[in-house]
Subunit: 232 residues, 2 copies
């Protein structure tokens, strides 16, 4: 056993990249030092720079590696979705489900996706744009096949469905403590999918009993963060 992380027979380069992926995902780029990455990978700090040029070069390599994996997951999901639609299976297949199915349980990739979308990183914007386009196209296909109701604002509807899916990954930890199941495990995923499917098929709310329609709307509220705040 070398130390710290048992990577099997990985190249040192790949080992560094994987260690960096995990640490970046857990704590963010800036909070992780080159020395920590090197220790986690069982190599010297100088080797990190030798292989990736600089810490930022390593960041870029990790980014492309992760984005590649993400797009493979999403592509798989896309096919799966169309197949399910055609065979009359479940109504929806979620990004979260694809992540849970295709990634090993302890994978740092969900957390890395969170960091990628959180920082206003152009790579995160690019991946979101691609996924939005795919969702939009899928929604159109479902409408023409009669599997989804047509909308007067399909862009917003597609974005709504996509971000609802992504929220499961972004807020994974909070959801887990709230409902008592990690939503990226089969058990949690099942509970989540049941409720989501129900809402997407029938809705969640009912129109109120029957009363005067326009009542208290647009009453102005005092802003909570006025231009000048009380000094603490």
């Amino acid at each position: 056993m070398s130390s710290v992380v048992d990577d099997g027979d990985l190249t040192a380069r790949a080992g560094i990249r994987n260690a960096a992926l995990r640490l970046f995902a857990e704590r963010g780029h800036d909070a992780v030092t080159v020395r920590e990455i090197a220790t986690a990978a069982g190599v010297s700090p100088a080797l990190v720079v030798h292989h990736f040029g600089s810490k930022d070069g390593l960041r870029a390599a990790v980014d492309t590696h992760a984005i590649d994996a993400f797009d493979r997951v999403f592509a798989e999901l896309d096919d799966h979705d169309v197949a399910e639609m055609l065979t009359g299976g479940e109504a929806t297949t979620s990004v979260a489900e694809a992540f849970s199915r295709m990634l090993p349980p302890g994978s740092p990739l969900p957390a890395y996706l969170r960091r990628l979308l959180l920082t206003n990183d152009p790579a995160g914007a690019a991946i979101f744009g691609r996924w939005f386009g795919a969702t939009r196209r899928l929604l159109d296909a479902m409408v023409t096949l009669g599997a989804a109701r047509p909308s007067d604002d399909p862009d917003v509807l597609a974005a709504f469905l996509l971000v609802n899916d992504l929220a499961v990954i972004l807020l994974r930890n909070q959801i887990a403590t709230a409902i008592g199941d990690d939503p990226l495990t089969p058990a949690g995923l099942d509970r989540w999918a049941k409720q989501a499917t129900a809402v997407y098929l029938e809705g969640a709310f009912a129109a109120p009993p029957a009363q005067p329609p326009e009542a208290a709307l647009n009453k102005p509220n005092a802003p909570i963060e006025p231009p000048e705040e009380a000094p603490s």
Copy 2:
């Protein structure tokens, strides 16, 4: 004019806290230096430490300040929601709507909430837990009033509705470029609320035309991230 930021007549202490709030929200705690905060607030770096003890003390002060504002927004939303429910107004009132209504347009608070929820910060976990409890109680109330359909897993349903709402704030920038409207402005919010309300009232998908019910389910897929990866 002093410099950089015109804060009106703020205490230096409050000015530092506000500058830190904005910088932390934009770039994250670790990527911001004490010197940058001091410059943005128009004071010397030493004064930052003098008022808050340390950079981490400043972080804590900013945290409590922000969390206080968040909870005020959410409490307002809660009241508003109940009121709307009773008067038979709109079916839903979203967290995003409350943020948009109660915060000035350029406020750093949405971005700070994003950082708080996505960095596994215990403060973020606490605020999510509180909001989840409130959502759960609101959902129960709506069910007894006949405004929401009863669910066999109300915890998950409440979490689903809450994280869908939060996703608008978390992915604000990506949504803005995807749909062409910032979802925290009145225009974008209106488009978003229309689609969300439609889905929550009637659903988004239709049951497939009518076909064999169980078809291709649980077919095993090759994991995309095998234990040992190809060295790049």
